[in-house]
Symmetry: C2
Subunit: 302 residues, 2 copies
């Protein structure tokens, strides 16, 4: 006779009628110092839940990334793939998921030894790629992306048990204060703000374009911004790297400037934090959003 052991839900969300602001029950820094991060970088990551490294990649490397992103965006045949998301009101590509499987260039970036060592230090050991994508936020009509904790969604909709994942965003265009850049709430990673409302089936199809569930309440957001350090907006040239904790509250405003915002986005998860059943009780989201089949420790590119 087999019994099903269910992982306890340490972060219930979308179950109660009222939002609740609780404490994080996992470390922010899971590993000891390995030398990949400086002492200051460890302290800043612990305090803020993110680390912004302006101009991380030199110009020449960035140009190669930009060419690759443009090549992919222009390539016919991609548009109809399930892992390619278009803008709600046009046919323009907004995101290409599974980018480390689609592009050799970006597979190497995802396994860049300098990035990987930092991520391994934060997560305390081996990691795998939970999700990867290129996001194209066009100029003039770039849509906003409302505040959210990635972990809230990954927990409820994908069954990620603990807060032990890191996102890396690599800017392929300059981030100004005015072209809809990533905004983060420093310190918000220390709390878990549960959301209200049940998740409808196949929610992901809509949520990749517009969010309606897993949305934090205004009072909770205000409280987080008050408890934390306000709102921070890392700016910098193409090639800048922002590493952030899976639970750091973030979002971005619309972009009406002519300056597009393109970034490479890679989510690393600890091999000790692989996905279970979604805590919503619903069927798992597709593989391209939440990798369940390739959880082997990632090796650095040679």
């Amino acid at each position: 006779m087999t019994t099903t052991t269910r992982v306890p839900d340490l972060y219930p969300s979308r179950v109660a009628d009222e939002p609740r602001l609780g404490d994080r029950r996992d470390p922010v820094l899971h590993g000891e110092a390995t030398g990949a991060l400086t002492r200051y970088q460890r302290d800043a990551y612990q305090a803020d839940g993110f680390l912004a490294l302006s101009g991380f990649f030199p110009e020449e490397e960035v140009r190669a990334f930009q060419r690759e992103a443009e090549r992919l965006r222009a390539s016919t045949g991609l548009r109809d793939r399930e892992d390619v998301i278009t803008e709600p009101e046009s046919d323009e590509i907004r995101s290409i998921f599974n980018i480390h499987r689609t592009s050799e260039v970006f597979d190497r970036v995802a396994r860049d030894p300098r990035i990987l060592a930092k991520v391994q230090e934060v997560l305390g050991g081996d990691v795998y790629i939970f999700q990867s994508r290129v996001n194209y936020k066009p100029g003039f009509r770039g849509k906003e992306f409302y505040w959210h904790s990635d972990f809230e969604t990954w927990h409820v909709e994908d069954g990620m048990p603990r807060m032990r994942a890191v996102s890396c965003s690599i800017a392929l265009t300059p981030n100004f204060a005015h072209n809809g850049p990533l905004m983060l709430v420093p310190g918000s990673q220390h709390f878990f703000l549960s959301c209200v409302g049940e998740t409808p089936e196949d929610h992901y199809k809509e949520s990749l374009k517009r969010q309606e569930y897993g949305v934090p309440d205004p009072e909770g957001l205000e409280k987080l911004i008050e408890l934390g350090g306000g709102i921070r907006v890392p700016t910098g040239p193409a090639g800048s790297l922002t590493m952030f904790d899976c639970n750091t509250m973030h979002g971005s405003a619309s972009n009406i400037t002519p300056f597009p915002r393109t970034n490479l986005f890679i989510v690393y998860n600890s091999v000790d934090n692989t996905l279970g059943e979604p805590f919503s009780g619903q069927r798992p989201r597709p593989e391209f959003i939440a990798n369940r089949t390739d959880e082997a420790p990632l090796a650095a590119a040679g």
Copy 2:
């Protein structure tokens, strides 16, 4: 026998199939130095098409303005008035027009001697109020306002003949880079970018909520930003004043931060530039948007 003399249309727009970038045919500074503006301020206004005076009103005065804005917003009965505009997806007040007629406090601000003297210097003599309003841009869900030249609309839809008007925006909340602040294209006032497409009748009812006509084309915008000095975003505390030319290209992104953005907006027009028939050939917009009946020279508050 009477003949109708039509004012020549120096700035045709929404008539051709292609947008066109032409030159301004009016001065930016219409008046000689009177001492109201410093030498630097004159030069900056001529160059940029705007002047940002951070913290123009002292805190105590600003608090009185803020109380007045909140009182008006909360007052029942205003919501159904024609000159009060609500958000597209809620009943929240977005703008109260005719504010200098509705509020004694704001009437005095509109006739503030320091502001009036600056405006008179720029416009070269007596002025009247063409339009006035308070704008409430809420936190979390504040909508974007796409790029536009006010003059383009005032010319086509209201029959304003020449570029001889100045807008003053007085911040009643702090302007950060991240809460959907006013963005301007310095130098854009020197050009006239005509727009494509005819204006539908009663366009104003929709345009106050969402713009579809009088929208500059992407290539023209890029050219303006290249010819001018990029994009500038004045930030500052509540009480900051931004004066800008009627033809300076401007817009604002959405506001997902909890920090609302409220401002008092007053448009001064030269008494030598009063409205004629709309150049669109259509019926004039209502009085609360484009004042035609009270064109007497404005007197400074005592």
